[in-house]
Homo-oligomer: 253 residues x 2
DNA sequence: CGTGTAATTGACCGCTCTCAAACGCGGTGG
DNA sequence: CCACCGCGTTTGAGAGCGGTCAATTACACG
């Protein structure tokens, strides 16, 4: 199995102040700008938004973007790479809250409070767009489309969190995880049926609330049943329909 | 064991347009008004907020406040009673998303989308304050305190959803559920160590992702160990420290 | 070519679910 | 007032899924 392409979000910036007459495209790698375009936000508002964007990175694998307890002052959109958010409980066990792919936003759960409630660490080389939250909140009062977009992002995360809450079997959990990953990658223009897992088995296990051994066993059985081909962290969804069927009750579709 | 007081949120409305010189108190039963007061929102803003509040109810036990797929146009604060939100999966199994006590807000997870993504049903006699969302969103652009409050409510729910996601034992889940209930009731002025469960065992089971039989067994064992006294739906937390200890890793404190 | 860490594999155990039946309270009607 | 019924709850026995523990393998890196 040959190597899949690196998961770098395709950069299509034209110019900071580009105006090609029709649509305005700058920093389209930032989830916000893109989503706000879809919301029909006008040009001047987008300009206002963009001036408070700060491109940060790269963060290398293992480097933290923020840690639990750090003062909260910004949310960030992932531009390239994968960010893992997690907490450590008092027993020292790690609970993975989520994996954030290019185009997705981290830090939303910190809005209630002055400090980040979790850790965020880069799993590979990560580039971010940083949005000062106080500033964006002020801007949101002037730009209804932006406020709406923020509400949507927050509301969506509430629903997403419920995904994990169900009492699904290990097979269903893993299938839903892989299908979910596939769809999110596809939405960003990556190959849906062939990609690489940027996270360790242990991370997947801690995310799905399974033992690492169980993850390993299920992946092996999936491969034996022809549902997928696994080689280390390279992944190919071979039996997508069957996987979709397994994941359907979890993803509610 | 004698009957506990009915869970009706104490109504302290003075007048729709009351102004007693110092603080402004009207419809303090609405979570929003109260929270916004805490945010230091000014008087005229509160007036603006209040004019788009609509008191609805009573809903009687078993009546639905809204159903999955209904067009979304409003969020609501519970004023009295308990509301259960839930979804039915394709296998016909009910998944309880949450129980909403007086002072809490329902419908937040509908903001992303045009339709309610779940059902909401009254477990006992329920009174609501209904807030038109389009209108409150517009008002939020003029009133930063209100926008902030909405962000907080949304962000808080994201964190709360994570509670259920952990791989906790049945004992831990139930202890966390009871302690959480107790704290929320206490925050509204109810007795923390003695209250009644407004939901059926089956509802608790569907919420905690346990079998009803397991809920029954754990409650019995808790009683045998002196952690609590159960009589039908009357509940007394007898061994609060032990319960808190069990719940601690779940509630993260 | 050694070493450390992640991943896999196997054996065993325990928690919780499932299935089934009995119980008990509330409601209805005789 | 009592018999009957229905549903939520409780109780019991058994089984299965996934966790735990331990050993082995595979790979990455120096």
């Amino acid at each position: 199995m040959e190597r899949a392409m690196t998961q770098v979000f395709p950069r299509t910036d034209k110019s900071i102040v580009a105006d090609d007459g029709d649509a305005l495209h700058f920093c389209s790698t930032c989830a916000f700008s893109r989503a706000c375009l879809d919301e029909g936000m006008d040009k001047s508002a987008l300009m206002d938004l963009h001036v408070l964007v700060e491109h940060v990175g790269p963060f290398h694998a293992g480097e933290h973007v923020f840690r639990e307890g750090d003062p909260f002052d910004a949310i960030a959109a992932v531009r390239a790479g994968t960010v893992k958010t997690y907490v450590i409980d008092r027993d020292g066990r790690e609970h993975v809250l989520g994996f954030h792919l290019p185009g997705e936003v981290i830090g939303l759960n910190a809005i209630d409070g002055d400090h980040y409630p979790c850790n965020a660490v880069a799993l590979d080389t990560v580039m971010l767009c940083r949005f000062s939250f106080p500033k964006i909140a002020v801007l949101a009062t002037r730009v209804p489309g932006l406020q709406r977009q923020l509400f949507r992002l927050l509301s969506r995360d509430i629903g997403r969190a419920a995904l994990l809450a169900g009492d699904w079997s290990a097979d269903q959990r893993l299938a839903a995880f892989l299908i979910g990953l596939s769809r999110r990658l596809a939405a960003r223009g990556f190959s849906p049926n062939r990609f690489q897992l940027t996270m360790a088995r242990t991370d997947i296990a801690n995310y799905l609330r399974l033992a690492p051994e169980t993850v390993s066993r299920v992946l092996k059985r999936f491969q034996a049943d022809g549902l997928l081909k696994v080689d280390r962290r390279e992944l190919e969804l071979a039996g997508r329909p069957a996987l979709e069927a397994l994941a359907a009750p979890v993803l509610r579709d």
